[in-house]
């Protein structure tokens, strides 16, 4: 792990300068799409920790494990759409001390819609987007190929999350 971190130090430094604002805008895009379909939408800025929610009383297909019912009363809503990003950046596979792939731009996360009447998922979309640089990747200090792949991955992630609402 330490060897991998050291070997990719320059890339790590560069990636930390890249913006990810476009992913924040996904919330607004989904809201706009839902409004076009006639839904009344509230954008919730509150962040919550999934682990802090109580467990749901039942298990079964398409049933969320956590109890989201508290959102129903708090915001006066029927359904809750959640977009959660686990990671935005670069990944690289290693075998022992040696890389087995070039670095790849990666966006991972999940999007889902919970029906608050029965705690079932109306929509569930795991997000795992990965893009390689076109051509050479190792071009410090600005790594243009990987940077381009980074923004491509962000666009693809946005598409995956918003397409079901179009």
């Amino acid at each position: 792990m330490a060897a991998a971190s050291l070997a990719n130090n320059k890339l790590t430094t560069h990636v930390r300068t890249l913006p990810s604002d476009d992913l924040v805008g996904v919330k607004q895009t989904i809201a706009d799409q839902l409004r076009k379909k006639g839904a009344q939408v509230k954008i919730i800025d509150e962040k919550f920790v999934l682990g802090d929610l109580p467990s749901w009383r039942a298990e079964g297909p398409d049933i969320a494990r956590k109890d989201y019912s508290s959102f129903r009363a708090k915001y006066d809503i029927d359904k809750l759409v959640v977009v959660n990003y686990y990671m935005v950046g670069m990944t690289r596979s290693y075998s022992a001390y040696f890389p087995t792939s070039t670095p790849r731009a990666t966006v991972s996360g999940i999007g889902y819609m919970v029906n608050l009447a029965d705690n079932k998922y109306d929509w569930y979309e795991p997000l795992a987007v990965s893009r390689a640089a076109e051509g050479e990747w190792d071009e410090p200090p600005n790594f243009p190929g990987l940077t381009n792949a980074y923004f491509q991955a962000i666009e693809m992630a946005k598409d995956n999350l918003t397409k079901p609402f179009k």
């Binding site: 075998s95 022992a96 001390y97 087995t100 070039t102 893009r131 640089a133 980074y150």
Partner: protein
């Protein structure tokens, strides 16, 4: 600035404004006679046009196979590590070569046309899309010392779904009489306009590959025009203006983080993060944002 340089600069500005209509001239500021830049295109030494299949670079994420070399001591362990590293590098290189070989198979139905498409023919066909009066195709740089010289060997790529071509031109431009260092050098890529591809190989192969050759010539002409424009009037570079641009490439959509240099109803010119120039069909969002006077422009059929 000398009067000669001022004339060239004035001609370059009008070249940019009239991009797509061939090399043009402007009245120079010092009142001297109007003169259009004389251009020579040097045909590459390689006789045939280089066609390649565009590989898909995003099909795998690499192997995470464990190292399998038992090592009884530190020296052996180090040797095992180095071997493992070398094997991994060789493996990745072989994988890239294999991917390109596989991608080139998309061209097999068109081999009879491609194998006899010479660079000389490509250059001469491209000349018809440029101002032929100012253009001369030459085999050697010695034959056009009084002209601006454009050199570079194009590569034509076919998308795997066969719905688009794009052309790469690593170009150098030399000033008249100056055959030492180029005054301009860059990588230029031109993506074809959306084509009415019907999914059949005959779209490209009919009439001895006439459409394949004509589209390639149009792309090459566009690349040459861009190179000459850029050599005469360098495009400003502003990294603060980078944005993510989506554009059509055949039936697919491509995404490029870039700086928009110019856009009209047909084509948009981008500067990529590597500093190369990328000419693409104008995205719909750009076309809709153009002034109403542009909206009646018709895309030139390819």
């Amino acid at each position: 600035m000398t009067s000669r340089k001022r004339r060239i600069h004035a001609a370059g500005i009008l070249c940019t404004a009239l991009a797509g209509s061939g090399f043009a001239a402007a009245d120079p500021a010092d009142g001297s006679a109007r003169s259009a830049p004389l251009i020579a295109l040097q045909v590459p030494a390689n006789a045939m046009v280089n066609y390649r299949g565009a590989p898909n670079l995003n099909t795998g994420v690499g192997s995470t196979a464990a190292m399998l070399y038992p090592a009884p001591n530190a020296a052996a362990a180090l040797a095992a590590l180095l071997t493992h590293g070398i094997m991994n590098s060789i493996g990745q290189r072989k994988e890239a070569e294999r991917a390109q070989t596989e991608a080139d198979k998309v061209l097999e139905p068109f081999a009879s046309a491609i194998n006899f498409h010479s660079n000389d023919q490509l250059y001469r066909d491209a000349s018809s899309h440029l101002n032929a009066a100012n253009l001369k195709v030459v085999a050697s740089s010695d034959l056009a010392a009084e002209r601006w010289l454009v050199t570079g060997e194009p590569v034509v790529w076919m998308a795997q779904d066969k719905s688009a071509l794009y052309l790469d031109l690593p170009v150098q431009v030399f000033s008249p009489g100056g055959r030492g260092d180029p005054v301009y050098g860059n990588g230029i890529r031109v993506v074809s306009e959306p084509l009415a591809f019907d999914g059949k190989d005959a779209f490209w192969s009919d009439n001895d590959g006439a459409r394949l050759k004509s589209v390639s010539a149009r792309l090459f002409a566009e690349a040459v025009q861009i190179a000459v424009d850029a050599a005469m009037t360098p495009y400003p570079e502003d990294t603060s203006m980078h944005r993510t641009v989506r554009f059509p490439q055949g039936k697919a959509e491509r995404i490029e983080r870039s700086q928009v240099i110019r856009a009209n109803c047909e084509r948009t010119l981008l500067r990529t993060l590597r500093g190369g120039l990328l000419s693409v069909p104008t995205p719909r969002e750009f076309a809709e944002a153009l002034p109403k006077s542009h909206s009646s422009c018709q895309r030139a059929p390819m």
